[in-house]
Symmetry: C2
Subunit: 199 residues, 2 copies
DNA sequence: AGTAAAATGGACCCGCAAGTCCAAAAAGGG
DNA sequence: CCCTTTTTGGACTTGCGGGTCCATTTTACT
Protein backbone atom coordinates (compact mmCIF):
# COMPACT_ATOMS: atom_id res chain seq x y z
CA UNK A 1 0.00 0.00 0.00
CA UNK A 2 2.78 2.38 0.88
CA UNK A 3 4.10 2.87 -2.55
CA UNK A 4 7.15 5.06 -2.22
CA UNK A 5 7.24 8.08 -4.44
CA UNK A 6 10.42 9.94 -5.14
CA UNK A 7 10.43 13.69 -5.34
CA UNK A 8 10.22 13.46 -9.08
CA UNK A 9 7.39 11.00 -8.77
CA UNK A 10 5.25 13.20 -6.60
CA UNK A 11 5.88 16.12 -8.91
CA UNK A 12 4.74 14.10 -11.89
CA UNK A 13 1.69 12.85 -10.10
CA UNK A 14 0.83 16.39 -9.16
CA UNK A 15 1.31 17.54 -12.72
CA UNK A 16 -1.04 14.86 -13.93
CA UNK A 17 -3.76 15.79 -11.50
CA UNK A 18 -3.51 19.46 -12.27
CA UNK A 19 -3.34 18.92 -15.99
CA UNK A 20 -6.34 16.64 -15.87
CA UNK A 21 -8.23 19.18 -13.78
CA UNK A 22 -7.45 21.93 -16.26
CA UNK A 23 -8.40 19.77 -19.20
CA UNK A 24 -11.66 18.85 -17.56
CA UNK A 25 -12.51 22.44 -16.83
CA UNK A 26 -11.94 23.42 -20.38
CA UNK A 27 -13.60 20.54 -22.16
CA UNK A 28 -15.69 18.64 -19.68
CA UNK A 29 -15.24 15.22 -18.21
CA UNK A 30 -16.79 13.26 -20.99
CA UNK A 31 -14.72 14.85 -23.68
CA UNK A 32 -11.50 14.39 -21.75
CA UNK A 33 -9.65 11.19 -22.54
CA UNK A 34 -6.62 9.76 -20.91
CA UNK A 35 -4.79 10.52 -24.08
CA UNK A 36 -5.64 14.19 -23.80
CA UNK A 37 -4.29 14.24 -20.29
CA UNK A 38 -1.21 12.39 -21.41
CA UNK A 39 -0.59 14.87 -24.19
CA UNK A 40 -1.20 17.92 -22.07
CA UNK A 41 0.97 16.85 -19.21
CA UNK A 42 3.75 15.50 -21.38
CA UNK A 43 3.55 12.06 -19.88
CA UNK A 44 3.10 8.58 -21.19
CA UNK A 45 0.30 6.12 -20.85
CA UNK A 46 2.27 3.96 -18.52
CA UNK A 47 2.82 6.87 -16.17
CA UNK A 48 -0.88 7.46 -15.83
CA UNK A 49 -1.40 3.89 -14.80
CA UNK A 50 1.72 3.92 -12.70
CA UNK A 51 0.42 6.71 -10.52
CA UNK A 52 -3.22 5.76 -10.78
CA UNK A 53 -3.38 1.99 -10.92
CA UNK A 54 -7.15 2.17 -10.71
CA UNK A 55 -7.17 3.84 -14.10
CA UNK A 56 -9.42 6.65 -15.10
CA UNK A 57 -11.70 6.18 -12.13
CA UNK A 58 -8.91 6.75 -9.69
CA UNK A 59 -7.60 9.73 -11.58
CA UNK A 60 -10.99 11.36 -11.70
CA UNK A 61 -11.38 10.82 -8.00
CA UNK A 62 -8.05 12.50 -7.36
CA UNK A 63 -9.14 15.41 -9.52
CA UNK A 64 -12.40 15.62 -7.63
CA UNK A 65 -10.52 15.83 -4.36
CA UNK A 66 -8.34 18.51 -5.82
CA UNK A 67 -11.33 20.53 -6.91
CA UNK A 68 -13.13 20.03 -3.63
CA UNK A 69 -10.19 21.49 -1.78
CA UNK A 70 -10.38 24.60 -3.86
CA UNK A 71 -14.02 25.17 -3.21
CA UNK A 72 -13.49 25.95 0.45
CA UNK A 73 -10.08 27.57 0.19
CA UNK A 74 -11.46 29.98 -2.40
CA UNK A 75 -13.91 31.23 0.22
CA UNK A 76 -11.28 31.92 2.81
CA UNK A 77 -10.64 33.88 4.85
CA UNK A 78 -14.25 35.08 4.73
CA UNK A 79 -15.97 31.79 5.43
CA UNK A 80 -13.93 31.31 8.59
CA UNK A 81 -14.77 34.69 10.00
CA UNK A 82 -18.49 35.16 9.91
CA UNK A 83 -18.43 37.35 12.98
CA UNK A 84 -20.27 40.48 11.89
CA UNK A 85 -22.82 41.40 9.28
CA UNK A 86 -20.24 43.12 7.09
CA UNK A 87 -18.20 39.91 7.28
CA UNK A 88 -21.22 37.92 6.13
CA UNK A 89 -21.65 40.24 3.19
CA UNK A 90 -17.99 40.00 2.31
CA UNK A 91 -18.34 36.23 2.30
CA UNK A 92 -21.46 36.46 0.17
CA UNK A 93 -19.53 38.53 -2.34
CA UNK A 94 -16.64 36.11 -2.40
CA UNK A 95 -18.96 33.22 -3.15
CA UNK A 96 -20.67 35.08 -5.95
CA UNK A 97 -17.35 36.18 -7.35
CA UNK A 98 -15.97 32.69 -7.26
CA UNK A 99 -18.79 31.21 -9.23
CA UNK A 100 -19.09 34.15 -11.52
CA UNK A 101 -15.47 33.65 -12.42
CA UNK A 102 -15.85 29.96 -12.82
CA UNK A 103 -18.48 30.43 -15.46
CA UNK A 104 -20.65 27.68 -16.68
CA UNK A 105 -18.43 24.86 -15.60
CA UNK A 106 -18.69 23.29 -12.22
CA UNK A 107 -15.95 20.70 -12.43
CA UNK A 108 -16.94 19.14 -9.19
CA UNK A 109 -20.59 18.68 -9.99
CA UNK A 110 -19.81 17.19 -13.34
CA UNK A 111 -17.04 15.03 -11.99
CA UNK A 112 -19.22 13.59 -9.33
CA UNK A 113 -22.14 12.92 -11.57
CA UNK A 114 -19.74 11.28 -13.96
CA UNK A 115 -18.10 9.09 -11.37
CA UNK A 116 -21.52 8.09 -10.30
CA UNK A 117 -22.76 9.16 -6.96
CA UNK A 118 -22.94 5.61 -5.83
CA UNK A 119 -19.22 5.08 -5.78
CA UNK A 120 -18.14 5.40 -2.19
CA UNK A 121 -15.11 7.48 -3.04
CA UNK A 122 -17.00 10.21 -4.85
CA UNK A 123 -19.62 10.25 -2.19
CA UNK A 124 -17.04 10.67 0.52
CA UNK A 125 -15.44 13.62 -1.23
CA UNK A 126 -18.71 15.45 -1.60
CA UNK A 127 -20.02 14.61 1.85
CA UNK A 128 -16.81 15.74 3.44
CA UNK A 129 -16.91 19.00 1.54
CA UNK A 130 -20.51 19.70 2.37
CA UNK A 131 -20.06 18.83 6.01
CA UNK A 132 -17.17 21.19 6.41
CA UNK A 133 -18.93 23.90 4.51
CA UNK A 134 -22.06 23.61 6.57
CA UNK A 135 -20.08 23.43 9.80
CA UNK A 136 -18.41 26.72 9.04
CA UNK A 137 -21.71 28.39 8.28
CA UNK A 138 -23.20 26.96 11.45
CA UNK A 139 -20.27 28.32 13.44
CA UNK A 140 -20.94 31.73 11.95
CA UNK A 141 -24.61 31.59 12.88
CA UNK A 142 -23.74 30.53 16.43
CA UNK A 143 -21.29 33.33 16.73
CA UNK A 144 -23.91 35.84 15.73
CA UNK A 145 -26.29 34.30 18.21
CA UNK A 146 -23.80 34.73 21.01
CA UNK A 147 -23.21 38.27 19.90
CA UNK A 148 -26.92 38.87 20.25
CA UNK A 149 -27.41 39.55 16.56
CA UNK A 150 -29.56 36.49 15.86
CA UNK A 151 -32.34 34.98 17.89
CA UNK A 152 -30.73 32.30 20.10
CA UNK A 153 -33.85 30.17 19.67
CA UNK A 154 -33.02 29.65 16.02
CA UNK A 155 -31.76 26.21 15.07
CA UNK A 156 -28.35 27.20 13.77
CA UNK A 157 -27.62 23.95 12.01
CA UNK A 158 -30.92 23.86 10.21
CA UNK A 159 -30.49 27.44 9.11
CA UNK A 160 -27.03 26.62 7.83
CA UNK A 161 -28.36 23.57 6.01
CA UNK A 162 -30.97 25.69 4.29
CA UNK A 163 -28.46 28.33 3.32
CA UNK A 164 -26.06 25.76 1.99
CA UNK A 165 -28.85 24.19 -0.04
CA UNK A 166 -29.65 27.59 -1.46
CA UNK A 167 -26.07 28.11 -2.50
CA UNK A 168 -25.86 24.71 -4.14
CA UNK A 169 -29.08 25.28 -5.98
CA UNK A 170 -27.98 28.72 -7.01
CA UNK A 171 -24.82 27.29 -8.49
CA UNK A 172 -26.73 24.55 -10.22
CA UNK A 173 -29.11 27.03 -11.77
CA UNK A 174 -26.18 29.14 -12.85
CA UNK A 175 -24.84 26.17 -14.76
CA UNK A 176 -28.00 26.04 -16.79
CA UNK A 177 -28.98 29.64 -17.07
CA UNK A 178 -25.56 31.23 -17.06
CA UNK A 179 -26.70 33.82 -14.58
CA UNK A 180 -25.83 34.17 -10.93
CA UNK A 181 -29.13 35.76 -10.05
CA UNK A 182 -30.46 32.70 -8.28
CA UNK A 183 -27.27 32.34 -6.32
CA UNK A 184 -27.49 35.96 -5.28
CA UNK A 185 -31.13 35.64 -4.40
CA UNK A 186 -30.47 32.59 -2.26
CA UNK A 187 -27.62 34.25 -0.41
CA UNK A 188 -29.32 37.59 0.03
CA UNK A 189 -32.66 36.21 1.09
CA UNK A 190 -30.98 33.70 3.37
CA UNK A 191 -28.82 36.27 5.09
CA UNK A 192 -31.64 38.79 5.26
CA UNK A 193 -33.76 36.27 7.04
CA UNK A 194 -31.04 35.57 9.53
CA UNK A 195 -30.78 39.26 10.26
CA UNK A 196 -34.50 39.52 10.66
CA UNK A 197 -34.36 36.88 13.36
CA UNK A 198 -33.18 38.85 16.29
CA UNK A 199 -34.82 38.80 19.68
CA UNK B 1 -38.90 18.42 -41.49
CA UNK B 2 -42.44 17.22 -41.13
CA UNK B 3 -41.75 13.57 -41.29
CA UNK B 4 -45.10 11.83 -41.29
CA UNK B 5 -45.53 9.24 -38.61
CA UNK B 6 -48.28 6.68 -38.78
CA UNK B 7 -50.14 5.69 -35.67
CA UNK B 8 -47.90 2.71 -35.27
CA UNK B 9 -44.88 4.90 -35.73
CA UNK B 10 -45.77 7.34 -32.99
CA UNK B 11 -46.52 4.46 -30.66
CA UNK B 12 -43.10 2.98 -31.29
CA UNK B 13 -41.40 6.27 -30.82
CA UNK B 14 -43.21 6.72 -27.55
CA UNK B 15 -42.24 3.24 -26.46
CA UNK B 16 -38.62 3.99 -27.16
CA UNK B 17 -38.61 7.19 -25.15
CA UNK B 18 -40.32 5.61 -22.19
CA UNK B 19 -38.15 2.54 -22.28
CA UNK B 20 -35.03 4.62 -22.48
CA UNK B 21 -36.22 6.75 -19.58
CA UNK B 22 -36.85 3.70 -17.46
CA UNK B 23 -33.53 2.18 -18.35
CA UNK B 24 -31.75 5.38 -17.47
CA UNK B 25 -33.48 5.61 -14.14
CA UNK B 26 -32.47 2.13 -13.25
CA UNK B 27 -28.93 2.11 -14.47
CA UNK B 28 -27.87 5.66 -15.14
CA UNK B 29 -27.14 7.44 -18.37
CA UNK B 30 -23.58 6.33 -18.77
CA UNK B 31 -24.37 2.68 -18.31
CA UNK B 32 -27.28 2.79 -20.73
CA UNK B 33 -26.41 1.89 -24.28
CA UNK B 34 -28.52 2.07 -27.35
CA UNK B 35 -28.44 -1.67 -27.38
CA UNK B 36 -29.97 -1.82 -23.93
CA UNK B 37 -32.76 0.44 -25.07
CA UNK B 38 -33.20 -1.63 -28.18
CA UNK B 39 -33.46 -4.83 -26.15
CA UNK B 40 -35.81 -3.42 -23.56
CA UNK B 41 -38.19 -1.87 -26.01
CA UNK B 42 -38.16 -4.76 -28.42
CA UNK B 43 -36.99 -2.67 -31.30
CA UNK B 44 -34.14 -2.79 -33.73
CA UNK B 45 -31.17 -0.57 -34.21
CA UNK B 46 -32.55 0.87 -37.39
CA UNK B 47 -35.69 1.92 -35.61
CA UNK B 48 -33.77 3.94 -33.08
CA UNK B 49 -32.07 5.83 -35.84
CA UNK B 50 -35.25 6.03 -37.83
CA UNK B 51 -37.07 7.89 -35.08
CA UNK B 52 -34.03 9.73 -33.77
CA UNK B 53 -31.84 10.50 -36.76
CA UNK B 54 -29.58 12.52 -34.51
CA UNK B 55 -28.63 9.33 -32.72
CA UNK B 56 -28.12 9.02 -29.02
CA UNK B 57 -27.95 12.74 -28.49
CA UNK B 58 -31.39 13.26 -29.89
CA UNK B 59 -32.82 10.37 -27.95
CA UNK B 60 -31.37 11.63 -24.68
CA UNK B 61 -32.83 15.02 -25.34
CA UNK B 62 -36.24 13.51 -25.89
CA UNK B 63 -35.89 11.60 -22.65
CA UNK B 64 -34.86 14.77 -20.86
CA UNK B 65 -37.97 16.50 -22.10
CA UNK B 66 -40.01 13.58 -20.96
CA UNK B 67 -38.50 13.71 -17.48
CA UNK B 68 -38.83 17.46 -17.23
CA UNK B 69 -42.53 17.17 -17.88
CA UNK B 70 -42.86 14.81 -14.98
CA UNK B 71 -41.10 17.05 -12.53
CA UNK B 72 -43.86 19.62 -12.54
CA UNK B 73 -46.77 17.30 -13.07
CA UNK B 74 -45.69 15.28 -10.06
CA UNK B 75 -46.14 18.38 -7.93
CA UNK B 76 -49.66 19.01 -9.08
CA UNK B 77 -52.22 19.91 -8.00
CA UNK B 78 -50.37 21.34 -5.02
CA UNK B 79 -47.97 23.60 -6.85
CA UNK B 80 -50.80 25.27 -8.71
CA UNK B 81 -52.78 26.04 -5.59
CA UNK B 82 -50.52 27.77 -3.13
CA UNK B 83 -53.37 29.75 -1.68
CA UNK B 84 -53.16 29.04 2.02
CA UNK B 85 -50.50 27.95 4.48
CA UNK B 86 -51.87 24.44 4.69
CA UNK B 87 -51.68 24.32 0.91
CA UNK B 88 -48.04 25.38 1.05
CA UNK B 89 -47.31 22.63 3.49
CA UNK B 90 -49.10 20.09 1.36
CA UNK B 91 -46.95 21.16 -1.54
CA UNK B 92 -43.85 20.94 0.61
CA UNK B 93 -44.78 17.39 1.49
CA UNK B 94 -45.40 16.45 -2.10
CA UNK B 95 -41.98 17.71 -3.13
CA UNK B 96 -40.26 15.82 -0.36
CA UNK B 97 -42.24 12.69 -1.14
CA UNK B 98 -41.40 12.91 -4.80
CA UNK B 99 -37.71 13.07 -4.25
CA UNK B 100 -37.74 10.63 -1.41
CA UNK B 101 -39.40 8.16 -3.71
CA UNK B 102 -37.03 8.91 -6.52
CA UNK B 103 -34.09 7.93 -4.38
CA UNK B 104 -30.58 8.69 -5.35
CA UNK B 105 -31.26 9.10 -9.01
CA UNK B 106 -32.13 12.39 -10.53
CA UNK B 107 -32.53 11.41 -14.15
CA UNK B 108 -32.82 14.98 -15.25
CA UNK B 109 -29.73 16.28 -13.53
CA UNK B 110 -27.65 13.44 -14.82
CA UNK B 111 -29.11 13.65 -18.29
CA UNK B 112 -28.39 17.30 -18.56
CA UNK B 113 -24.87 17.08 -17.27
CA UNK B 114 -24.34 14.21 -19.67
CA UNK B 115 -25.68 16.06 -22.67
CA UNK B 116 -23.50 18.92 -21.71
CA UNK B 117 -25.06 22.10 -20.50
CA UNK B 118 -23.71 23.92 -23.46
CA UNK B 119 -25.95 22.18 -25.96
CA UNK B 120 -28.77 24.56 -26.67
CA UNK B 121 -31.37 21.82 -26.54
CA UNK B 122 -30.54 20.68 -23.04
CA UNK B 123 -30.30 24.20 -21.83
CA UNK B 124 -33.69 25.05 -23.23
CA UNK B 125 -35.30 22.11 -21.49
CA UNK B 126 -33.90 23.05 -18.11
CA UNK B 127 -34.50 26.76 -18.44
CA UNK B 128 -38.06 26.18 -19.47
CA UNK B 129 -38.64 23.90 -16.52
CA UNK B 130 -37.10 26.25 -14.02
CA UNK B 131 -38.95 29.24 -15.37
CA UNK B 132 -42.27 27.53 -15.07
CA UNK B 133 -41.46 26.22 -11.64
CA UNK B 134 -40.41 29.59 -10.36
CA UNK B 135 -43.40 31.28 -11.95
CA UNK B 136 -45.76 29.02 -10.07
CA UNK B 137 -44.03 29.68 -6.78
CA UNK B 138 -44.07 33.39 -7.47
CA UNK B 139 -47.79 33.21 -8.16
CA UNK B 140 -48.25 31.51 -4.82
CA UNK B 141 -46.31 34.20 -3.01
CA UNK B 142 -48.30 36.93 -4.71
CA UNK B 143 -51.53 35.25 -3.81
CA UNK B 144 -50.53 35.16 -0.16
CA UNK B 145 -49.56 38.79 -0.36
CA UNK B 146 -52.98 39.73 -1.69
CA UNK B 147 -54.55 37.66 1.04
CA UNK B 148 -52.59 39.71 3.54
CA UNK B 149 -50.58 36.76 4.77
CA UNK B 150 -47.24 38.00 3.50
CA UNK B 151 -45.76 41.46 3.58
CA UNK B 152 -46.67 43.09 0.26
CA UNK B 153 -43.29 44.83 0.28
CA UNK B 154 -41.55 41.54 -0.25
CA UNK B 155 -40.08 40.94 -3.70
CA UNK B 156 -42.11 37.90 -4.64
CA UNK B 157 -39.96 36.88 -7.55
CA UNK B 158 -36.75 37.08 -5.61
CA UNK B 159 -38.25 35.09 -2.77
CA UNK B 160 -39.40 32.47 -5.24
CA UNK B 161 -35.95 32.37 -6.82
CA UNK B 162 -34.36 31.78 -3.44
CA UNK B 163 -36.83 29.07 -2.55
CA UNK B 164 -36.35 27.35 -5.88
CA UNK B 165 -32.60 27.48 -5.41
CA UNK B 166 -33.02 25.91 -2.00
CA UNK B 167 -35.06 23.10 -3.46
CA UNK B 168 -32.55 22.44 -6.21
CA UNK B 169 -29.71 22.43 -3.76
CA UNK B 170 -31.62 20.20 -1.42
CA UNK B 171 -32.15 17.71 -4.20
CA UNK B 172 -28.52 17.92 -5.22
CA UNK B 173 -27.39 17.26 -1.69
CA UNK B 174 -29.78 14.37 -1.45
CA UNK B 175 -28.12 12.82 -4.45
CA UNK B 176 -24.84 12.78 -2.59
CA UNK B 177 -25.88 12.21 0.96
CA UNK B 178 -28.93 10.06 0.38
CA UNK B 179 -30.88 12.08 2.88
CA UNK B 180 -33.67 14.57 2.30
CA UNK B 181 -32.78 16.59 5.35
CA UNK B 182 -31.32 19.47 3.38
CA UNK B 183 -34.32 19.55 1.11
CA UNK B 184 -36.60 19.64 4.11
CA UNK B 185 -34.53 22.30 5.78
CA UNK B 186 -34.59 24.46 2.66
CA UNK B 187 -38.34 24.13 2.27
CA UNK B 188 -39.16 24.57 5.93
CA UNK B 189 -36.86 27.48 6.54
CA UNK B 190 -37.93 29.10 3.29
CA UNK B 191 -41.62 28.78 4.02
CA UNK B 192 -41.16 29.77 7.65
CA UNK B 193 -39.46 32.93 6.58
CA UNK B 194 -42.26 33.75 4.22
CA UNK B 195 -44.73 33.33 7.05
CA UNK B 196 -42.63 35.51 9.29
CA UNK B 197 -42.87 38.30 6.75
CA UNK B 198 -46.28 39.61 7.42
CA UNK B 199 -47.09 43.28 7.97
C1' DA C 1 30.05 2.10 -7.86
C1' DG C 2 26.52 -1.00 -7.75
C1' DT C 3 22.01 -2.57 -7.09
C1' DA C 4 17.20 -2.38 -6.30
C1' DA C 5 13.29 0.28 -6.85
C1' DA C 6 10.93 3.75 -9.23
C1' DA C 7 9.99 6.43 -13.42
C1' DT C 8 9.32 6.69 -18.30
C1' DG C 9 8.30 5.71 -23.40
C1' DG C 10 5.36 4.04 -26.44
C1' DA C 11 3.68 0.25 -29.14
C1' DC C 12 -0.02 -2.79 -28.88
C1' DC C 13 -4.43 -5.04 -27.72
C1' DC C 14 -9.21 -5.37 -27.43
C1' DG C 15 -13.93 -4.70 -26.44
C1' DC C 16 -17.64 -1.97 -26.72
C1' DA C 17 -21.04 0.84 -28.41
C1' DA C 18 -22.41 4.26 -31.90
C1' DG C 19 -23.66 4.44 -36.31
C1' DT C 20 -24.47 2.42 -41.38
C1' DC C 21 -26.77 -0.30 -44.79
C1' DC C 22 -29.80 -3.00 -47.36
C1' DA C 23 -33.42 -5.79 -47.79
C1' DA C 24 -37.93 -7.36 -46.21
C1' DA C 25 -42.42 -6.60 -44.14
C1' DA C 26 -46.40 -3.80 -42.93
C1' DA C 27 -49.42 0.45 -43.79
C1' DG C 28 -51.65 3.60 -46.30
C1' DG C 29 -54.12 5.52 -50.26
C1' DG C 30 -56.22 5.78 -54.59
C1' DC D 1 -55.17 -4.58 -55.87
C1' DC D 2 -51.03 -2.04 -56.85
C1' DC D 3 -47.73 1.32 -55.86
C1' DT D 4 -45.53 4.33 -52.52
C1' DT D 5 -44.12 5.30 -48.06
C1' DT D 6 -43.19 4.01 -43.67
C1' DT D 7 -41.63 0.61 -40.45
C1' DT D 8 -38.81 -3.10 -39.09
C1' DG D 9 -34.84 -6.68 -38.67
C1' DG D 10 -30.38 -7.43 -37.95
C1' DA D 11 -25.77 -8.06 -39.78
C1' DC D 12 -21.77 -5.28 -40.37
C1' DT D 13 -18.36 -1.60 -39.96
C1' DT D 14 -15.59 1.47 -37.45
C1' DG D 15 -13.22 4.27 -34.36
C1' DC D 16 -12.26 5.47 -30.07
C1' DG D 17 -10.34 5.03 -25.75
C1' DG D 18 -9.21 2.41 -21.66
C1' DG D 19 -6.00 -0.75 -20.30
C1' DT D 20 -1.67 -3.97 -20.80
C1' DC D 21 3.21 -4.94 -21.50
C1' DC D 22 7.95 -4.77 -21.68
C1' DA D 23 12.13 -2.51 -22.46
C1' DT D 24 14.83 1.44 -21.04
C1' DT D 25 16.31 5.19 -18.23
C1' DT D 26 16.64 7.58 -13.95
C1' DT D 27 16.76 7.90 -9.01
C1' DA D 28 17.83 6.62 -4.30
C1' DC D 29 20.52 4.41 -0.94
C1' DT D 30 24.63 2.17 1.19
Amino acid sequence: MTRTLTRKGTATRQRIVEGAAAEIRERGVIATTLDDVRARTGTSKSQLFHYFPGGKEELLLAVARHEADRVLSDQQPYLGELTSWPAWLAWRDSVVARYLGQGRRCPLNVLVSQLGRNTPGAQAVVSELMNQWQAEITAGVRHMQHAGAIDPQLDADRAAAALLAGIQGGVLLMLSTGSVSHLEAALDVGIDNLRARFP
